[in-house]
Symmetry: C2
Subunit: 217 residues, 2 copies
């Protein structure tokens, strides 16, 4: 009985890591669709989101079931509560990847990004994907040190966000309003993916230490 | 012992309702700061957010404590799990109100909104505030019917979002890139506040019925 319980608990964690990998792939593919104006790839990101949502429901139901039947305490309880919170982050990250793919689809056959906006956006995309990959490792290994480090990565994203705004608000911007709005929103989507990765890392800190890190603004 | 437990459980729900009211006030005041270019009001929204964050920590700690000590089952367990999820929505809604206030502060002494963007944005602000107020009632009364209705309100927000984009992408838009980006982002903040209100309503449906509503895209 206890053995089955621990297997089920471990399978929740394994699924959480697998869901984070799904989100990482969705982010990477959405970025590729955006930068190459690949409408089929964009469509595939959009239609694959249903699998991320299904996994959320599955993890939620199993976590809840374990809470209800096994009445776990201490670390196991914190793990299940953290899982219930992290799936909400992950579902939202999947939605944000879909938003990116939808911009690519909307502007097809054109490229959504004017060339002058590409370098900073590519950096934002790379940092976001890297932070999702780090979140996956952090959850898999309950790695508090790496979790604290991820918060510092987020400062890089913050600098990139400001650089992105400088580009589209500069006098040299000659692409008009529509691409500017696309670029502003795309920057925001990547930034939010990064924020959710940080939020997952913070839940791992709480999970392991029982301490709330100071709130993110 | 059981009586104290039920008091504590009810106090978590009462605090959740109070936190929703705080968010409603933050949203309303941020809107007022935005439409009247009131920088002091904007500052007060920004500095009051710490109280929303504190309440999150307090609700989280107490919910977790009840889960750990009382090992609740069925409805009580679902209530506590829902509370842990809803505080994450509410904290984020508070952050979004802060984002709105920060746009007002950044553009002060100017008005951030060009007059032509004001009517639709005012409707978005009103719908968002109304949806937060509805979420508060829905949580207080665990009202599944009102929760299902809130999802329909969200369609109004969707129409307003499209109208907002039409304004800033129309040929008549003569305010340039910066106000267009402000208007696009502000619209998104109100839309996200509304999305989180719907997410809270969906958690009430799960709480009362035990069924997951179909995922929001």
């Amino acid at each position: 009985m206890r053995e089955l319980y621990h297997e089920q608990l471990e399978s929740v964690v394994a699924d959480l890591v697998a869901m984070t990998e799904q989100v990482k792939v969705a982010t990477r593919r959405a970025t590729q669709a955006l930068f190459t104006a690949d409408v089929e790839l964009a469509e595939s990101v959009i239609s694959a989101d249903v699998h991320i949502d299904e996994r959320r429901v599955s993890i939620e139901d199993r976590s809840f079931d374990l809470l209800a039947r096994q009445q776990p305490v201490a670390g196991d309880l914190r793990m299940l509560v953290a899982a219930l919170r992290m799936v909400a982050d992950l579902e939202r990250m999947g939605d944000l990847a879909v938003h990116i793919a939808k911009v690519a689809r909307l502007r097809y056959p054109d490229h959504a990004l004017p060339p002058s906006a590409e370098p900073v956006m590519k950096e934002m995309a790379d940092v976001a994907e890297m932070m999702v990959a780090a979140a996956s490792e952090i959850v898999a290994n309950r790695d508090v040190e790496a979790a604290a480090e991820l918060e510092r990565e987020d400062e890089i994203m913050d600098r990139l966000r400001r650089a992105n705004f400088r580009t589209l608000l500069s006098d040299g911007w000659e692409h008009g309003v529509e691409p500017a709005v696309d670029v502003a929103l795309l920057g925001r989507y990547y930034e939010r993916i990064a924020d959710h990765a940080v939020s997952m890392a913070r839940r791992v800190i709480y999970l392991v230490t029982g301490e709330h890190p100071a709130p993110v603004s």
